[in-house]
């Protein structure tokens, strides 16, 4: 079994005796999950709880003419059958726009469709019954008459004058457009020795979290309070949204996340059926639970990607990039998703493409168009997989045209490691990247030269293997520049409250949340290290808006970098407070003392003076023995938000080694490597597992995952059997390496690590596949997912 070495790190500013920073200690919260004793929202039941089920539009676009509820209402167990118009009196509609995405527009979206359904699967009527089965029985008896309307299902023609406008009040189907020009792209292309063009396509896919979306809402009419158990990444955000749209104060709303069975960005958005469930609870004055079934997940969990990027690169004969140009068209659903919008991903594609190369000449256009398909929004590594595959695909095509090795052309163009800080053509500010050092590390790990020799040898024997390299950057630790400046009530700051309990234990309350990444473990490690107690004494509380400091939650690779710094600073503050108490007991000065291993010791020499249990006993039960006028403060709270840098960019490279069977079009993944620089590593094991899981999700996008719609807007594969995800047998072992460049924005120096794997893997797979195809005379494939049928077609065997 490979477990990263659990050894204390080298001395640094973070070094404290018994530090857990940099140690691969197991997560403290795994035992209950391993025993089947977790508590997921889908597991929960409350007294008088009802179950919601929804009638959903079978059409991509249809007017709702009539809903006959009589038979449904008469069914056993049914308590209420509620239409969109009725629910609109409880919950107001919303519009998914942000002011910093200039010109973005969308239409009001209701919890349940009113008059018109705009995608197949949009809820049109709700049933609340004693059991889910009874609710579904009643849904089957609803008689709903529709007038089918023309459906917009092709992004390429969504803006044509002949295409119907989904929301006539908006004037057209264009949600958002952004244009950018930097440097002198025309001159760059004119002066280039070679100009290579390609069109890259990224299929629609989705998160397929293993636990579907789940919510249990309870309205206490006596207390006038809403309690919502919700599998969400951002409980303070949803608290604010529930309050706003139900006409409540935020103090009337409590959101608890419980255990969350996978998220990946799926569970960071506002979903109409979840708003409907909350509104039903308020309407019916009792708990109402909704858990999406798998078909509902495929029809209503946000979909992701769906980009078509026409791209062009100009290069000099020596490989120097002269200019890059992209034109991105992305097809979303009929509404921009609330409150993060459906425009951020295309915006990110514009920002990120080519940004890690030292070429100033760049032109980009991105258009986001509405369609009568399921809604689309931010999913793990937002925009990065597209920007990375386009950039790295272009670079590989250029290398091939010029007869350069893929490593050589990257070496020629990557921003020098000593050139930072660096501003990209799109204006991204990079504090410190380590592209060249990371590339050195990658080449050593994968034995690049040996692998090339092996590849050449195997080709002579008719074995077709490919090596694919992908360099990337990843946006982490987002400041208010991401959402807050656009008017969204999404916190970029986060807080941590630490408490010394009456036995000398340490409680950590943090605004970040846990969906399996290990955020709780990271908070525990950081707080234990800063304060000075063994990990076993730490209890972490997350995901409860009544208890935790206000925070953003866990998304955008922010938990360790932002929540971790708040915990670090709170740990230092509480240590100071507790040493003041200890000093007053010991008649010493706080500066002469420290807390190590749960014991107050002399800072110099480390002699043990007083246990934390004893400090706690005195401060809580015998404060009369403390000096007159001294008030002990056994809690400390600190908040943190990055201020010097809008984002803490990480960097790295991935490589794929795969084998292609030209007879079947099947791809066998032999090995995958990733070198990443995420700054200070709090827990190497958790960072590496985030990268591995992320890589595999990126492989899914490259090879398997695709939400297939027909021309009428009907999803063709809304089941786990029809929608292919990576399985154990098809996945390679993934080797991870690190370069460490801490951010100076925080004392902890941690950047995020949750999305890098997904950012770079599709590009690495694509480049490896095309490397394997090249000697077979096939044109490069740029249309993900790369199915066996597409590969055979490229080989002329389709």
């Amino acid at each position: 079994m490979k477990i990263a070495a659990d050894s204390p790190p080298v001395l640094s500013a973070l070094d404290r005796p018994n530090s857990y920073i940099g140690r691969s200690v197991p997560r403290p919260d795994l035992e209950r999950l391993l025993q089947g004793r977790g508590s997921f929202v889908s597991d929960m039941a409350l007294p008088r709880m009802l179950h919601a089920a929804f009638a959903r539009s079978p059409h991509a676009h249809a007017r709702i003419l009539r809903i006959d509820r009589e038979a449904a209402r008469a069914m056993p167990g049914v308590v209420a059958v509620v239409t969109g118009a009725e629910l609109a009196r409880v919950v107001t509609p919303w519009v998914g726009t942000l002011s910093h995405l200039a010109g973005i527009k969308s239409a009001p979206q209701h919890a349940i469709a009113v008059e018109r359904a705009c995608w197949q699967g949009e809820a049109v009527c709700a049933v609340a019954a004693h059991t889910r089965a009874e609710a579904e029985d009643a849904v089957d008896l609803l008689r709903i008459d529709y007038e089918e309307l023309p459906a917009v299902t092709d992004a390429e023609t969504a803006l044509d004058p002949a295409t119907p406008v989904i929301h006539p009040a908006l004037g057209d189907n264009l949600t958002f457009e952004r244009r950018l020009a930097a440097g002198d792209p025309d001159r760059g292309f004119a002066e280039a020795d070679e100009v290579i063009e390609a069109t890259f396509v990224f299929g629609r896919h989705t998160g397929a979290t293993l636990e579907p979306r789940a919510i249990l809402a309870d309205w206490n009419e006596g207390e006038k309070r809403l309690t919502v158990y919700q599998g969400t990444q951002a409980p303070h955000m949803t608290q604010g949204v529930f309050a706003k749209h139900l006409g409540l104060a935020e103090r009337q709303v409590r959101v608890l996340t419980k255990d969350v069975g996978g998220s990946f960005g799926i569970k960071v958005h506002i979903y109409a059926d979840e708003m409907a469930t909350v509104a039903l609870a308020k309407l019916l004055k009792r708990p109402v639970k909704f858990v999406a079934d798998r078909l509902e997940s495929f029809l209503t969990d946000i979909h992701a990607r769906d980009h078509r990027v026409r791209a062009k690169i100009g290069v000099a004969r020596d490989g120097a990039i002269a200019a890059i140009e992209i034109d991105d068209l992305t097809g979303i659903g009929p509404y921009s998703v609330y409150p993060r919008t459906s425009g951020i991903e295309a915006n990110q594609v514009v920002n990120l493409t080519g940004s890690w190369y030292a070429c100033p000449n760049y032109r980009a256009r991105a258009r986001v168009v509405m369609q009568n398909k399921n809604v689309m929004s931010q999913y793990r590594a937002v925009g990065h997989p597209i920007a990375t595959a386009v950039t790295e695909g272009l670079v590989d095509l250029a290398a091939r045209r010029l007869g350069l090795d893929p490593i050589a052309i990257r070496r020629r163009n990557l921003v020098a490691d000593d050139a930072y800080p660096w501003t990209s053509p799109s204006g991204l500010k990079f504090e410190k990247l380590s592209q060249h050092a990371a590339l050195d590390r990658l080449l050593a790990m994968m034995r690049y030269e040996d692998l090339r020799a092996s590849q050449a040898e195997l080709r002579r024997r008719g074995v077709w293997r490919g090596i694919g390299i992908a360099s990337f950057v990843e946006l982490t630790n987002p400041s208010a520049a991401f959402y807050g400046v656009g008017g969204a009530r999404i916190s970029s700051q986060d807080g941590a409250t630490l408490k010394l309990d009456a036995q000398g234990g340490l409680w950590v309350y943090s605004g970040v949340t846990e969906q399996g990444q290990g955020a709780g473990a990271v908070m525990a490690q950081v707080a234990a290290s800063a304060f000075g107690v063994p990990l076993e004494r730490v209890r972490v509380v997350l995901g409860d808006t009544d208890m935790t400091p206000y925070g953003g939650g866990t998304w955008g690779s922010r938990a360790a970098g932002i929540g971790g710094e708040a915990a670090w600073q709170a740990g230092k503050a509480l240590r100071h407070n507790v040493l003041e108490i200890a000093a007053s007991i010991l008649q010493a000065t706080p500066e002469a003392l420290d807390i190590r291993g749960g014991i107050v010791v002399d800072r110099d020499g480390g002699a043990e003076r007083l246990s934390l249990e004893e400090v706690a006993r005195i401060l809580y039960f015998r404060p009369d023995t403390l000096p007159p006028g001294f008030q002990a403060e056994p809690m400390a709270t600190r908040h943190y938000v990055p201020r010097q840098w809008p984002f803490a960019f990480t960097t790295g490279h991935q490589a794929s080694w795969l084998e292609l069977d030209p007879e079947t079009g099947l791809v066998t993944l032999l090995k995958h490597w990733c070198v990443e620089d995420c700054g200070t590593i709090v827990n190497p094991l958790l960072v590496e597992e985030q990268i591995r899981g992320g890589v595999v999700q990126g492989i899914g996008a490259a090879l398997y995952e695709h939400c297939l719609y027909d021309e009428k807007g009907q999803l063709q594969n809304g089941s786990m059997a029809g929608y292919l995800v990576p399985l154990a047998a098809e996945m390679p072992d993934i080797e991870i390496g690190h370069v460490v460049s801490p951010t100076a924005d925080s004392e902890l120096g941690a950047k995020g690590a949750g999305e890098a794997g997904t950012a770079g893997a599709p590009a690495a797979i694509m480049n490896a596949l095309n490397d394997a195809l090249a000697p077979l005379g096939a044109a490069p494939l740029t249309d993900m997912p790369f199915t066996p049928a597409k590969i055979l077609a490229a080989l002329g065997r389709g």
Partner: protein
């Protein structure tokens, strides 16, 4: 919408259970909703994802593809039972140390599937272990940690001659 109910008597984690259930109730819904054994999860309800894996008569089955009424007289074991008996304690410890779970939703099914492979004895190759999990989806880990933890358990059991 068959509401016909039947009485079913079976043994769950060693405990005798007698209940009336609707004919359409799946075994996993019966375990979760009637008995409160929520360790077995529902991921797809069509026998694909493996999150509902339980042991029926000594063999693993999909809890969503078996009706509770089919289990008359049967012996059913879930992750809670295997945990309390200590049967998979070493496997669970290797999962914990190797971080072979993230959200933990697939984990009970993974553990039951792994234990079936391990109970055959010997040490399977990594490819064989990977193939064994062809019916268990994990969206978080990328699988490598799970394979590592199962492999480590197999080696340890082989070294101690433990047959469980």
């Amino acid at each position: 919408m068959d509401r016909e109910e039947h009485e079913v008597a079976l043994t769950i984690n060693g405990e005798a259970v007698r209940e009336r259930v609707a004919a359409r109730t799946s075994l996993v819904d019966f375990l979760r909703e009637r008995l409160g054994l929520t360790g077995s999860h529902v991921g797809c309800e069509e026998g694909v994802c493996g999150a509902c894996t339980v042991r029926l008569g000594g063999r693993i089955v999909r809890g969503c593809l078996v009706f509770a009424v089919q289990c008359e007289g049967a012996r059913v074991e879930t992750v809670e039972g295997l945990s309390d008996s200590g049967e998979i304690a070493d496997l669970q410890e290797n999962f914990r140390r190797r971080n072979a779970l993230q959200c933990g939703f697939c984990t009970p099914g993974m553990l039951l599937a792994a234990q079936e492979l391990l109970a055959r004895g010997g040490v399977s190759s990594r490819a064989e272990i990977r193939a064994h999990f062809s019916g268990n989806y994990c969206r978080c880990t990328g699988y490598e940690a799970i394979i590592d933890a199962v492999e480590a358990t197999a080696f340890a059991r082989a070294a101690t001659g433990a047959k469980r």
